[in-house]
Symmetry: C2
Subunit: 133 residues, 2 copies
DNA sequence: TTATAAAGGATAATCTTTATCCTTTGTTAT
DNA sequence: ATAACAAAGGATAAAGATTATCCTTTATAA
């Protein structure tokens, strides 16, 4: 059970017990959606308000402590900020995996073709994971 | 003003005036969200119900007549189904652009690393478009 | 034409997310 | 350690988004 007190403060977020537990849940689960997170939090905080979950998710996003990943035909999941990476989502078990891919070639090709100044890449593959096939 | 009657029927969708207008709106605008689509539809159908928009969007998605594109930190947009492609979204003017990119190298690398059977790729770049910079 | 399943409109119901208000608490400075 | 205070939590209302229901209308095929 890692202590996220300093990490939260680095992102200008008070280190409340609720936020520490949310951080831990994301650390343990990797990628988690609002409903699953709420269920986990209820085990530790019998009377936590769903509003607290939403308020903290939004503040953590604004302060870049966490990132949102939009999943095709499913709910968004959230994860602790880390080095830039891409995602794989299994259509069967719904699990989301990280993957590091070399995208510089594709990115510069996209900038060249379009004239865009690109500052963010969101790449999500959908399929069937190793266990599920 | 293209006639989408046959195209709708090919996807097992009755060609109603409302659906033809929705198809046309997506054809003309390229990528459009629910609210913008509703506003456009209201001009042609003074008393169209928002429920009709939702019901048709969902049926069109189920029958693969249209596709949903999830936009980071923004609402989803919808577009007529066409050849597989990637997207660029301008963070300033919010416009969404199509782009064709060679992703086979990245895709096979992802499959190899992860052991996934990948059947869908969703790639969205965010940045500033040519006009806005 | 006619028959009929499906679609549209109106509206209620059901999520989902945010706002409000008051109490509690984490943090900083004594 | 204590006090001060802005910020956070909980309860709940409000607002927003999406879906369900019910009845009328219509697109399609016989
Ligand atoms: Mn991730
Ligand atoms: Mn497109
Ligand atoms: Zn799986
Ligand atoms: Zn722009």
């Amino acid at each position: 059970m890692i202590d996220f007190t300093d990490e939260l403060r680095l992102h200008n977020l008070k280190a409340t017990p609720q936020r520490l537990a949310m951080s831990d849940a994301m650390y343990v689960n990797g990628h988690i959606n609002i409903d699953a997170l709420y269920l986990i939090m209820l085990k530790k905080f019998h009377s936590i308000s769903l509003a607290t979950i939403y308020k903290n998710i939004n503040l953590m996003l604004e302060n870049s402590f966490i990132q949102e990943v939009k999943i095709p035909q499913d709910k968004s999941v959230y994860e602790l900020s880390k080095d830039i990476h891409s995602h794989l989502v299994c259509q069967k078990c719904k699990e989301v995996f990280d993957i590091n891919l070399e995208l510089e070639t594709v990115l510069s090709e996209a900038q060249q073709q379009s004239g865009f100044k690109i500052c963010k890449t969101s790449l999500v593959f959908s399929g069937i994971c190793k266990k599920c096939q």
